[in-house]
């Protein structure tokens, strides 16, 4: 009988990423509801020393697969190893952080294991011993409540920034175990040949705590500087509407919306964005939404917690100055 909640840790350059703490914390909450234990699975190269830290967030056991071929991440190596561990360990629930890496892993792993999987979930619960999750579909135009049938482990990824991280508890400890696995070089068909780092140090929109987005109302690429200043001050990232991206003002990777990035920051400030259905779809799970637009009838105001009807070129610099008083 499948038992136990497993969570997959995510590392980059030898450090756990924030999403790891999110899934370990959620794994703890689910395990308590199910009356089961939490196993964190760590894949990487030389991660064993850090593994025990996950206990503080709720892991009871940490299973470490250490191999030079497991860092940086590749789909084939990770799927090969985790598939073996899952078949041996037979967990009831398998939770993966829905980062780019996690979603990639979950997609292929679910087919490898032949199980159902729900991607990019925003709510998790245990009902009658089963995992029940909530996930936005149609980019947030509807929400689906789903569960799993005749399928173990019950498997899901979590949208970044949505799950709360447990207060670290230094008194907790976990058993750290070396995982047993084999990895055949012949089965590894992909390799990372280069990593181009974004030197700006900009936090990705999907993981940003605060976003300042600009649309067609920005009038041109040069004007984004006022958004960059505000974003820098509050520790945020600049995003854009599709119109701004299609005009060539901002890179594709900045687009928020149904055909761009789906974001969930604590604070989303939309500047000169009308609020088209495709844009709203990508940011409606933001906790606090601010709209700055000179058109009082712009649809964005219907989604905004705070609306400012005014010229953004006056309001944004003034807001930047005003915020300084509170920091």
């Amino acid at each position: 009988m499948a038992e136990g909640v497993w969570v997959i840790a995510e590392e980059r350059d030898g450090e756990f990423r924030k999403i790891t703490y999110e899934v370990v914390s959620e794994g703890r909450r689910l395990a308590d509801a199910l009356g089961q234990s939490v196993t964190a699975v760590v894949l990487g190269n030389g991660m064993k020393d850090k593994a025990a830290d996950l206990a503080q967030y709720g892991a009871d056991k940490v299973l470490v697969a250490d191999d030079a071929r497991l860092s940086p991440y590749t789909t084939d190596a990770y799927v090969a190893v985790i598939s073996q561990l899952v078949k041996n360990g037979d967990p009831a629930v398998l939770l993966i952080g829905g980062s780019v890496q996690g979603k990639d892993l979950a997609a292929r792993l679910s087919a490898n294991l032949g199980v159902g999987m729900a991607q990019d979930c925003t709510g998790f619960a245990a009902e009658d011993g089963n995992l029940v999750i909530i996930r936005p579909i149609y980019a947030g135009k509807a929400y689906a409540k789903v569960t799993f049938e005749n399928s173990w482990p019950q498997m899901a990824t979590s949208r970044p920034n949505v799950l709360s991280i447990n207060e670290p508890d230094a008194s907790r400890s976990a058993e750290v175990v070396d995982a047993e696995f084999s990895l055949d070089d012949a089965a590894l068909k992909t390799k990372v040949v280069d990593v181009a780092k974004d030197e700006s140090g900009k936090i990705d929109l999907t993981e940003a705590d605060k976003i300042v987005s600009g649309g067609r109302g920005m009038k041109g690429p040069e004007n984004y500087e006022i958004l960059e200043k505000l974003a820098d001050l509050i520790g945020g990232t600049v995003g854009a509407s599709r119109s701004a991206v299609d005009a060539g003002w901002r890179p594709h990777s900045d687009q928020v919306g149904q055909t761009g990035k789906v974001v969930s920051p604590n604070l989303y400030i939309a500047c000169g964005i009308s609020g088209a259905i495709q844009h709203l779809a990508g940011m409606s799970t933001s906790k606090v939404i601010v709209a700055i637009n000179k058109d009082p009838d712009a649809p964005i105001f219907q989604k905004a917690d705070y609306g400012v009807v005014a010229d953004l070129f006056d309001v944004v610099p003034a807001l930047t100055e005003e915020i300084k008083k509170y920091l």
Binding site: V100, A107, I137, K141, A142, F301, Y306, I323
Partner: protein
């Protein structure tokens, strides 16, 4: 280079989603159906590779008969032939079942590359591509924004953006790549293209044609079971910030973000 492109039909992005009386599906009456926008990037990339190396582009869609229209669009853009997997028993299938049916339809074709969209903008899963690759036993690389085939046509190099970096991945062929915005600008179908598309081969396959057992497909066979669909949570009515001047409004907004919303 023979290339397969998987094509899903989805509701137009303008669609207001209405939940059906059963509480588990959506009302489809007034929906305008389009090719999944990410699949357009896949079609375009396949055509560019074919233009460079020669070969054939085959478009594969699974769904009701209306999907024919989107396959014809891809043929009008320049793809060579289409396959529509259609069967009443497929209605309501989950990602894994869809991947199984698609795999059965493509496994015996001669292919070097498969393109899919990075995700369907309907179910927002992004699972079918990777699952097909797994079932076929070929590597997959997701979120391609640049795809380069080596001169000897034995390997492919793909740029793949992850948070804060771009990974350059090399893979042997055949491989499956999921397309992300930024990969290319899809062409429009030309009028002669549309005329030609009408005569291009478009084959229909049922589950029986693929040698599959209908009981493994459809709503009943889902492993991911939908309990209920709901409209998005209502957001409480927002506040319009008062003030005589933009400065006053900015000051009031900053205060509210700090004191009331507590996000600063």
């Amino acid at each position: 280079m023979n290339i397969i492109v998987l094509l899903k039909q989805v509701p137009d992005t303008e669609t207001q989603i209405k939940i059906a009386p059963d509480g588990k599906s959506i009302v489809t009456d007034d929906i305008k159906w389009i090719m999944n926008p990410y699949d357009e990037f896949g079609v375009e990339e396949a055509l560019r590779i074919k233009e460079k190396f020669g070969g054939e582009v085959t478009v594969v869609g699974l769904g009701p008969k209306r999907v024919t229209e989107s396959i014809r669009t891809a043929l009008a853009m320049g793809a060579d032939k289409g396959i529509l997997i259609t069967d009443d028993a497929l209605e309501g299938s989950d990602s894994l079942a869809v991947a199984k049916a698609i795999t059965a339809a493509v496994k015996d074709l001669d292919y070097d590359l498969i393109f899919t969209g990075q995700r369907g903008i309907d179910d927002d899963m992004g699972v079918v591509g990777a699952s097909v690759a797994e079932l076929l036993g070929i590597p997959n690389i997701s979120l391609g924004i640049k795809v380069e085939i080596s001169e000897d046509q034995k390997t492919v190099t793909v740029n793949r953006p992850v948070e804060g970096q771009t990974l350059v991945i090399e893979s042997s062929l055949p491989a499956l790549i999921t397309a992300q915005k930024g990969l290319n600008e899809p062409r429009y179908a030309s009028l002669p293209g549309i005329m030609k598309a009408k005569r291009k081969p478009l084959e229909e396959k049922s589950l029986a044609d693929l040698g599959l057992d209908a009981s493994e497909f459809g709503t009943e066979a889902r492993k991911v079971k939908i309990l209920e669909l709901t409209p998005p949570p209502e957001r409480a009515a927002g506040k319009i910030i008062e003030g005589e001047t933009p400065q006053e409004k900015a000051a009031e907004l900053a205060r509210l973000l700090h004191e009331e919303a507590k996000v600063l």
